[in-house]
């Protein structure tokens, strides 16, 4: 099936039933944004997200919406900032090295409370790294990017169908909380093709009483993050932090499999969770009581849920396509209630279900020894 055919199928689903179409992750994310009412897309070519830009290059102009291939990721994200400051629904996409360049504007948008959805289809790093799938930007997405005290919601799909759903959710979160939102996918989520019956959603638009539209019949508005008076900036920061606490209370998302009787729990997100899903099934066939805990919101991290689980489980295995990043948040959540083991591959390598099963055997032996001691 060619890209053009997939575009045709996605844009014109068969009437009367939800058509199943074969879609590439990058293309499905792009079409989901279009169906969610995305007004403007800005991007710069980088593997493994280039198909997203290419999809938008054709679809956005034919719908009369804004599309620009920018001069750099700096250009792209700042075009996004400008469009978003007017209240437009904006999507920007990139991959890891480009995300580093976008970090600056992320800080400005967090500070000036400008809503925008940013897709990072992660590749191997550091530096130019590789174009293979990776989850090496967890720290960057969850803890980092730009300067200053701020956080942004980070959502991580584990299937192309879920990516479609999370695009609409990302726009909702961005507008509800006036914040940038990161949709964090890895190279496999971007490049793989899956047959999906896409549940495209078009979230309703909230009233935007801050957006720049021209001071016509109302006082001028300023979208800003500069507050030179320390008292005023602290007040602004306190308001941001209060917003982050509201997000942390209300917007935790996660999924679980076979957790009710699980003695060992695999914690993984994105593609790593797909691998873990297979490993858990293999372990179950061997009679092991193993479950899967899959964070969908990486921030807010499902910390209370994981802590509760750790009180019942005997051991946790974290699997990532990284040298170990999310595992730090898992350990913070678990607070020593049970052993936390880690298995990761980097550079574009992906662990196999057999690898994960082996790690589960090792963890099982470790917790049995611990129990016997």
């Amino acid at each position: 099936m060619t890209t053009a055919m997939r575009r045709q199928a996605a844009a014109n689903p068969a009437p009367g039933r939800r058509a199943r179409v074969l879609m590439k992750g990058n293309e499905a994310i792009a079409e989901a944004a279009i169906q969610a009412g995305c007004d403007a897309y800005f991007g710069y070519p980088i593997t493994p997200q280039a198909e997203l830009l290419e999809w938008m290059a054709r679809r956005m102009p034919e719908l009369g919406r804004a599309f620009i291939q920018a001069e750099s990721e700096l250009g792209a994200i700042n075009m996004g900032l400008g469009a978003a400051a007017t209240g437009a629904r904006v999507l920007v996409s990139t991959s890891s090295p480009g995300m580093s360049l976008m970090a600056e504007a992320m800080s400005y948008m967090a500070g000036s409370e400008t809503p925008l959805v940013l897709v990072n289809v992660m590749r191997g790093g550091p530096g130019l790294g590789s174009i293979g799938p990776s989850q090496s930007d967890y720290f960057q997405a969850v803890k980092g990017h730009g300067h200053g005290d701020y956080r942004v919601p980070v959502l991580a799909p584990a299937s192309i169908g879920e990516a479609v759903e999370l695009v609409a959710t990302s726009f909702e979160l961005a507008e509800r909380y006036r914040t940038p939102v990161i949709l964090l996918a890895d190279g496999i989520m971007g490049q793989a093709m899956e047959p999906i019956a896409p549940r495209f959603r078009h979230p309703s638009r909230p009233k935007l009483d801050w957006a720049l539209t021209g001071a016509d019949g109302r006082p001028p508005r300023v979208v800003r993050s500069l507050f030179l008076q320390p008292e005023r900036l602290e007040e602004h920061n306190d308001a941001l932090q209060a917003k982050y606490r509201r997000i942390a209370e209300r917007e935790v998302r996660w999924a679980g499999e076979q957790l009710d009787d699980a003695e060992l729990v695999v914690v993984a997100y994105g593609t790593a969770a797909r691998v873990a899903h297979s490993a858990v099934a293999m372990a179950r066939r061997e009679g092991m009581r193993v479950g899967l805990f899959r964070p969908i919101s990486l921030w807010p991290f499902p910390e209370p849920q994981l802590r509760e689980l750790a009180a019942r489980a005997r051991g946790i295995l974290v699997v990532e396509l990284s040298a170990g990043q999310m595992v730090e948040d898992v350990r913070l959540a678990v607070e020593g209630r049970c052993p936390v083991a880690f298995h990761g591959r980097t550079g574009g390598m992906v662990p196999s279900p057999d690898d994960v099963l082996t790690q589960l055997h090792l963890l099982g032996a470790r917790v049995r020894e611990r129990g016997a001691a």
């Binding site: 403007a40 001069e71 700096l74 250009g75 400008g82 904006v90 720049l212 979208v223 800003r224």
Partner: protein, 263 residues
Amino acid sequence: MTVATPTPRVIFSRPELLIDVSTHYCPGCGHGIIARLLAEVLGELGVGPRTIAVAPVGCAVFEYDYLAVDWVEAPHGRAPAVATGIRRVRPDNFVLAYQGDGDLAAIGTAEIVHAAGRGELITDIFVNNGIYGMTGGQMAPTTLLGQRTTSTPTGRAAGLAGYPIPMTEMLAILPGVAYAARGSVIDPAHIGKTKAMIRRACQAQLKGEGFAIVEILSNCPVGWGMTPHESMEHLADVEKVYPLGVLVDRAAGKPTQTDGEGS
């Protein structure tokens, strides 16, 4: 004896778009003059209520305290990209970018070149005072050779710090640039000419001609270590490196030198 009393009439007043506050700019700074020119031009063209302006990083970030239109702050140098984003989703608005020389000619060279290259319908006001004022007077790309700054303490030497960059001449050769000009705030006559340039640059956007930029040679008495009067006189020397005038006005049939080549 009866003395004829002429009916009083207002010949000078605060433009409606200029907010009635005291200035944060240093005594003698040219930014205040430029803010007034913008308020006058936008008011005369009647575009104030539909203007969305982009503030830079630097002294002029506070331009939103003076000009009563909608504003967004851009990261340092990114104003042309931010303005591009606004323009593409708000075709009926008037989009203004305000930048300093550090912003436009150093950290933001890629953004300005590509916004101009795309011929974005935005009007860019480029204030060139040859120095980083807000951070304490360091060398800018536009600093004159020999000029002392806090980061060229013995004067700018080409071998060490390169040459002044004539950004507006560089931009004027791009086909997407409808209008490019350089004015000055050295005296009332030049301020009047600069106002006419700003007006033309705004009209270029309103008529859909393309990207428009007005570079304005301005002063920085504190950064230059001069009195306001000395700094104004010094603008005559600055003009020798950055000649005043209209560099390109394509709709008016004034092409750049390179346009003529091969035709």
